[in-house]
Symmetry: C2
C-alpha cells in the first residue's frame, strides 16, 4: 500500500481497461506473444499509443527476475582509456540483447562498494573497472555482486578477470628506449596505490635485472595532464635522456611542458606514453606508446560476463598484451 502518486503514471491496468481486455492480454501483446487475436492486439496497441504507455522496468525486473541490463562501475569516466573498452563492451552486450548502464565513482574509493552493490541490485550482472578499493574489501564484495567481472585487478579466481599486462607492456617500452641507446631513463610513476602502477614497477624491475648497465629512475608523478606537466623539473634533475610515462595523458601533459620549455623531442629527450588514447597520434610530436586492442578487451569482458550469467563460469583470468607503437616522440640517443 504505497507508491507515491507521481502525477499520472500509466500502468498495464489502464491499458487493459482502455482496450477492454485483461492485463494478461496486454502483457502478451507487449511481449509479442503470437497467440493473440489480431483485432484485439490492434486495440491494445492503439491504447498503448494513445496513452503513451511504457511498462515499468522495476515491475518487469521483479516479476521476471532479470532485467537484461548490466552495470559498469568506472572510477573516472574522463579517462579516455576506459572509453574504448566501454565501447567494445557496449557493442558486444547490445548484440546479445543487454543494455549497459554506467556509474562513475569519480575516484571516491570509499563509495565504490556502496555504488557497486546498488547498481548490481538493479541489474543482472556487473563489471568493475579498475576498482580502487583495497584487496580485502574487493574479495569480500565479490560474492555479494556475483556475476561480476573485474577489469584490471586480479581476483584469485573468485570472479571473472580481464587484465592488461602492464608489467610486460612497460618492459617493452623500456627495451625500445634501451635499443635506441638510452642508458638513463626516467619513469613518470602513476599513483602509488594504483595496482596498475605497481605492475609497471614490477615490469621495470625485470628490465633492470636484464640491463644492469641501464639506470631507470622512478619520478613521482600521477595520472593527469597536470601531473605530467609538473614533472619536468624532477625529470630534468635526473639527467635522463628518455622518459616513459605512466600513461598517455601524463605523457601529453609532459610534452606540453617540454614544448613550453623549448626542450626538443625526441632530440633532447625521448618521451613515451602508455595506452594509445585517440589523441596520441595527433600530438606533436606524435606519441610513441603501448597500444592495447581495447575494443577487444571490452568484448572479452562481455563474453566472460555472459558466461558467468549463464553459469558456465570459467574463472581463468584473461590477459591482453599491448603492442609497442613507435611514433615520433622517441629517437636515438644523441
Amino acid at each position: 500500500m504505497t507508491a507515491k502518486k507521481t502525477g499520472r503514471e500509466i500502468t498495464i491496468s489502464d491499458i487493459a481497461a482502455a482496450a477492454g481486455v485483461s492485463k494478461a492480454t496486454v502483457s502478451r501483446v507487449m511481449n509479442g506473444v503470437s497467440t493473440v487475436n489480431e483485432q484485439i492486439a490492434e486495440r491494445v496497441r492503439a491504447a498503448v499509443a494513445e496513452l503513451g504507455y511504457s511498462p515499468s522496468a522495476a515491475a518487469r525486473s521483479l516479476s521476471l527476475g532479470e532485467s537484461r541490463t548490466i552495470g559498469v562501475v568506472v572510477p573516472d569516466l574522463a579517462n579516455p582509456m576506459f572509453h574504448q573498452v566501454l565501447h567494445g563492451l557496449n557493442s558486444a552486450a547490445e548484440r546479445d540483447g543487454y543494455r549497459v548502464l554506467v556509474a562513475d565513482t569519480r575516484e571516491h574509493r570509499e563509495r565504490e562498494v556502496e555504488i557497486a552493490l546498488d547498481i548490481r541490485n538493479r541489474t543482472d550482472a556487473i563489471v568493475l573497472f579498475a576498482p580502487r578499493m583495497d584487496r580485502l574489501t574487493m574479495l569480500d564484495l565479490m560474492p555479494k555482486i556475483d556475476p561480476v567481472v573485474i577489469f584490471n585487478r586480479t581476483t584469485g579466481k573468485r570472479a571473472g578477470a580481464v587484465l592488461i599486462d602492464y608489467a610486460e607492456g612497460i618492459g617493452a617500452v623500456a627495451r625500445h628506449l634501451i635499443e635506441l641507446g638510452h642508458t638513463k631513463i626516467a619513469y613518470l610513476a602513476g599513483p602509488p596505490q594504483a595496482r596498475s602502477n605497481m605492475a609497471r614497477q614490477d615490469g621495470l624491475d625485470i628490465v633492470r635485472g636484464e640491463h644492469p648497465e641501464v639506470e631507470i629512475v622512478s619520478v613521482d608523478c600521477g595520472s593527469s595532464f597536470e601531473d605530467g606537466y609538473a614533472a619536468w623539473p624532477a625529470v630534468r634533475e635526473t639527467g635522463a635522456s628518455a622518459a616513459m610515462a605512466f600513461n598517455d595523458v601524463v605523457a601529453l601533459g609532459f610534452l606540453g611542458r617540454l614544448a613550453e620549455e623549448g626542450v626538443s623531442v625526441p632530440d633532447e629527450l625521448s618521451v613515451a606514453g602508455f595506452d594509445d588514447i585517440p589523441f596520441s597520434q595527433y600530438s606533436s610530436p606524435s606519441l610513441t606508446t603501448m597500444t592495447a586492442r581495447l575494443g577487444d578487451v571490452g568484448e572479452k569482458i562481455w563474453s566472460t560476463l555472459l558466461e558467468q550469467i549463464r553459469g558456465t563460469a570459467d574463472l581463468e583470468p584473461t590477459t591482453f598484451a599491448p603492442q609497442l607503437t613507435v611514433r615520433s616522440s622517441t629517437g636515438k640517443k644523441k
Copy 2:
C-alpha cells in the same frame, strides 16, 4: 509466479527467518527506522552480514514508487565536453541523495528513443545530452519521459532545457580573430545535421553582417580528431590566415596536421577551438578556445531536473555564455 532461480538470491524473508523476526522489522532495520529494539536490530544486522543480504532495488522501486536514481543518455561518452558536465551533474545529484546512471547511445540516433524510454523506466527522471533525434521525434518523446531536462537542444518549454550559447560563442572567437587583423577566416564546420553546428553557423552570419570586409569561409569538416587532421588541404585552399574549429577535438587534430606539415602556429596560421577540454591548455601551442563553466552547467541541469521532479517546474530555458580564453595558438596577422 515466476522469478528465475538464479542460484541463491537472499531476500528479506531469508533474513527475517534467520533473525527470527518479521519482514517488517527487517525492513525497519534496513531503513534505519529508530523504533526497533537494539537487541533485535543487532540480530538482524548479524543475519544481514552473515548471509550477505542486500535489498532488491527493483522491489524497493516498485514499492516506493521511486528509485532515487536518474538516467543520463549521452550520444558519445568519449566526448570530453560531456565529462565535465556529467561531473558537475553527478556531484550535485549526489548531494541531494540521487544516483546517476549513464547510457551511451554511441551515436546510434535511431536507438535514442528506445534507450531513453527504457532508462527512464528504471529511474525517477532523465537527462538527454544533445539528442541526435529529429525535433518531432523529440517533442513526441518528451511527455513520455517526463520529468526530463534536455541539454543543448531547445524544447519550446515542453521540458527543462539548459543550453550553451554557441552562436554567441563562435561570434566571440571570430571577433577575436578579426581584432587580430585577420580578414579571411576558415570555419571548420561540424556535422551538418548537428544543432550545435547550425547555431554556430547562425552566429557566424551575424559576424558576417557586422564585418562585411571580412570573409568567413565554411569548410566541411566534422567533430573528430581525424576530421580536423584531414581538413588541412581544404583550409589551405581557402587562403585563410586563421581557422576556427567546430570544437577543440577538431582543432587539436588540425594542429597535429599543421605540425606535421611544418605550418607554424600562430605565425602562418592562427587556430582556435571551442569547449576548452582539459587537454587544450597542454597542447603545443596551447589552444585559444571558448571556455564554458561546464561544471556549473551540470549543476544547473540537476537543479532544473530536481525542480521538475518536485513538480515546481519552471520551463524557462537556461543559457550559458562561454568566455573566450586566449592562449598561444592565435596571433596577429602577419
